[in-house]
Symmetry: C2
Subunit: 597 residues, 2 copies
């Protein structure tokens, strides 16, 4: 199976690489003075870089694509030939292809590999491999153009990159394109902007998202929900400062093994401060504020704590990969006997939470030690590691969860369970982690007095039900495509009067809904009803209430759901009752099947 | 009146200064080898510094005080004499008073002023003034001892400072002492520790409070309440990062006029970041994310934003004066016509809020410009200043508020209203501020499109209903002495079973209260009932529910309020209804009159 998949992938790569040659051949046919850069296969497709004498537009791709299809249909053979260096140079000098000459300059050897399409209809300096004939390329599509510096060097000339893709069948190609469009439509940056949820403002800083009113509203609803869930499970919540003295990170060890991810030091009076990259050290200090006994355990100390970590600017991505983020953090201190119950309870909370936010598919990854291969890697006691790993495995197995064991993947300080949520495209993301820690308790001298009066070290578990709010929201937005469950969507209802004479009734309906505790907006702007409905749809408002003569006469409202399905006339109270039930049950929204399917 | 008060204050100061001489005289009588430092009158009393050959304890103050009273009763005259420098030096050499010799060294002149008590029973180098006779000192009391370095210089010897106070009558003295005790009992640091609300942990950092679970619970309740209050008034809430790029503070001007209050810069890649000392610059950037029209105003943008400001370590004080704190911040952007309405609405919110948290006494301070005296001081347009100052004054006057005008007290960027809350001892604290700003809109090019299509600069108002949570909580704790109104007190009810056989019933009561949404704790620890009640009282729990045989039999509970008043037996449902009503009305708790009064 593995092998078959790999063969399939290799075939696709050859097809796409060959398609890039066909693209260059087609371009030279239509633009004989175009200069060729390079043209590799890439993930999901291929590209070729050109220098055109006149800039081309997206609409110029159609004729090029048509020309490519002609070439593919001809079934021209694609064959490798070895050309003498002098001949190759001569060939490119003659055709005035200076970028190719530059490439030859960097290749060693007396003979250079070329691939020839047909009877020398096209020749390209290339190591291959390729399909045997252009007819093997399958279904092809040019997707977009972009600017790209020659050799990726911004001091060099900007070339035009033409992207495309190829699949074995038209059907596969169409599925892929539709999927791409859907992924683009669900992109958290796109939806985040469209729904005004968050913004990255360059003057404030890279990777430092600003939560805008609608996004912050959602965040607060979910944060309050989480804190209540945890409170009911006996968690205590604290809030510690964003900067801590260096002594904390010396004690924890972060300054020796994590410093490159930390922001630079700040010297104040005689003290050195750091933005905290983790909430743990301060959490340990709070545990130690008073002596603990076995009666105090399990002690569950939560913090919605904002941390700052340096990431290379190239790695930042929307709110998914950022430099400043808030973790729904907690540290649980327990006895060995309590460990199994604590892990089970954590997974119970996770099940409730995932169900309520509409994450229906998730799986588990269990990262374990590999003591034989790395006997000196691991902090803490061997027996405690054994106990922890056995317990994590047992709990997952007893619950009947699907999980993968990853021996050797555990950090030096303890084994962990990663919870991988799977979005609608099958994209996995590690949203939550349950991490044992055998390092910090030792460093911070974390103890409790046991029943027999002896001092013992508790098991310490870090867990973040929601991971970070930022990463979680990126995944949440992409999972729901912005069509959030009613209970946490920032605005639940827009009330739209058809014309000015319906304003009073609309206000009356608005008041009833508002007083019932719904998040409602009255849109009585002087714009056409249709355009106000479109605005509401753009903001993905779950319910649009329209009122006009008919509604006033019958003392009702007209209700439309997302995706424009009309629910017809109903009484305001009935509507309120329906929504309250939907909120209470935290029913996730399922978009109706599109009409064109 | 002013004059009379001043005379009274001068008299008290003379009495207390004379009392310090009497203290020194008494000490020399009982400890003839004691060395004298200095002995001034201070706020609320006096002190004298001594070097004793053997350390003295608090209990040694009684005999000294007794000796002082004897001297006072004798009615010895206190008279000024001018002594020749040589004679003064001779006198102190003879009596081996080296600290006095050091003092003489620093005084110029051939003759030095001394005050003699009685027939030379005591003489002290002193400029006075003093009362004429020891019998004029009134009622005297020594209060405590403390260590104090000679001349406040820690490289010098540590002396023993004896503190005391004096009043004209025993009655006034007793009132003062009782008041002092009450102030001490209400001290926010003391109560914060006792009720486990917050902690300052030296390893985390000075002036960087940690909110402990009970304090954070209160903070969250009040924060959610405030945000809801603001939401209902049309505020939008955002959250911006704790670090911002330097360009923001260059634009705002903070880096030129506020830098010494900012934490040091952090260099990341090619950019410079600062911990934000204020939320304003990022707020202005958010306003500017999209163009605004007059229809969008008033635009009210709130942020519960944590800021960091450097304060000298000597000035830090509990959670009242800190380095990191969270402001309940908002920026309101409005048209000139909306200004009066906006200020009125802000004061309306403030009235609701102050009433609900139990601040019953507050007054207003209006800080205005003084353009004649400082024509170049003020940013922005003269007419806009005039309009703003007139509006602030008019609103306060129209509302019939007591307010004081402070010409010249306005900052360069705008006039403001400070709201001074007054606590039970009459201590005032500026809890909220409504500040106009004519600087930032200019710096950040803040505009809106008016009805006539022209671009205009809105009025920008900063306001913090709650000031900072830290400062507000310090005042809140001292106002209520820890006896918080039920609606935000961290724990509302403790359920205490008399003995083990009542555990089941207690659990049943606990469940009923918990399910009714009350914050309740079941204390069934194996400790005596009395000691568990004392623990609950120590934590100032509003309601203690005790259950035993009698309660089980009658299906009731016994309820005691704070201060140990019994409300007798009642049904659980009746109790729940009472509490819900008390929470709904946000009734502040009034402690019953103490029995010993």
């Amino acid at each position: 199976m593995e092998n078959e998949e790999q063969q399939q992938a290799e075939l696709l790569e050859k097809m796409r690489h060959s398609a890039s040659h066909v693209l260059a051949q087609a371009v030279l046919k239509l633009y004989p003075d175009a200069k060729l850069g390079i043209g590799p296969a890439i993930d999901n497709g291929f590209y070729y870089d050109f220098e055109f004498s006149e800039p081309i537009e997206e609409e110029d791709l159609k004729p090029i694509e048509k020309e490519m299809k002609k070439i593919i249909k001809q079934g021209l053979p694609i064959t490798q030939v070895m050309m003498k260096r002098e001949d190759a140079i001569e060939y490119y000098k003659k055709t005035d292809q200076m970028y190719k000459l530059e490439l030859i300059d960097e290749i060693e050897g007396k003979e250079l590999s070329f691939f020839i399409t047909g009877e020398n209809e096209f020749a390209d300096l290339c190591r291959g491999p390729h399909v045997a004939s252009t007819k093997d390329i399958g279904a092809v599509k040019l997707t977009k153009t972009a600017g790209a510096y020659w050799r990726g060097d911004e001091t060099k000339k900007m070339l035009t990159r033409i992207y495309g893709t190829a699949f074995e069948t038209e059907n596969e190609l169409n599925t892929f394109l539709k999927n791409q469009e859907e992924i683009e439509n669900r992109n958290h940056r796109k939806i985040g902007k469209q729904l005004e949820l968050f913004a990255i403002i360059p003057e404030i800083g890279q990777g430092l998202p600003v939560w805008l009113p609608r996004g912050y509203k959602m965040r607060r609803i979910i944060e309050n929900y989480i804190l209540e869930l945890e409170e009911n499970a006996g968690y205590l919540h604290i809030l510690t400062p964003h900067i801590n003295r260096s002594v904390l990170f010396e004690t924890s060890g972060h300054l020796s093994f994590y410093k490159e991810s930390m922001y630079p030091a700040m010297e104040v009076d005689d003290e050195t401060y750091y933005l905290k990259p983790m909430n743990c050290p301060a959490g340990m200090m709070v545990y130690n504020l008073s002596p603990k006994s076995y009666r105090d355990l399990p002690y569950k100390l939560g913090e919605s704590g904002t941390v700052y970590r340096y990431e290379k600017s190239g790695e930042l991505q929307g709110i998914q990969r950022v430099r400043g983020f808030t973790q729904n953090d907690a540290h649980i201190f327990c006895t060995p006997e309590q460990l199994e119950g604590v892990i089970n309870e954590t997974l119970d909370l996770l099940d409730i939470f995932y169900k309520d936010v509409g994450f229906t598919r998730y799986k588990f990854r269990l990262s374990l030690s590999e003591r034989e291969a790395n006997p000196k890697k691991y902090a803490g006691d061997v027996e405690r590691w054994q106990k922890a790993e056995d317990t994590l495995r047992k709990v997952l197995a007893d619950r009947g969860e699907e999980f993968e064991e990853m021996p050797g993947d555990a950090a030096f300080y303890g084994p962990k369970i990663d919870i991988q949520a799977v979005n609608v495209f099958g994209k996995e993301d590690s949203v939550s982690t349950i991490q044992l820690d055998f390092n910090l308790p030792e460093k911070f001298n974390i103890k409790y007095i046991d029943q027999d009066g002896t001092e013992q070290e508790p098991f310490v578990i870090h867990r973040a039900l929601i991971g970070s709010f930022e990463r979680f929201f990126a995944f949440l937005i992409e999972t729901h495509g912005g069509d959030f469950p009613l209970w946490f969507t920032p605005e639940q209802v827009y009330v739209i009067p058809i014309s000015e004479k319906h304003h009073d009734y609309a206000k009356q309906v608005y008041d009833e809904l508002h007083n019932a505790g719904l998040r409602v907006k009255l849109d009585d702007r002087a714009k056409s009803m249709q355009s106000r409905i479109r605005d509401a749809e753009k903001m993905k408002i779950p319910y649009i209430v329209v009122v006009g003569d008919k509604e006033i006469e019958t003392e009702t409202i007209s209700v439309r759901t997302r995706k424009n399905k009309s629910e017809g006339l109903m009484k305001v109270q009935e509507f309120i009752d329906n929504l309250k039930e939907e909120i209470r049950t935290k029913e996730p929204f399922t978009p109706p099947v599109e009409e064109n399917n």
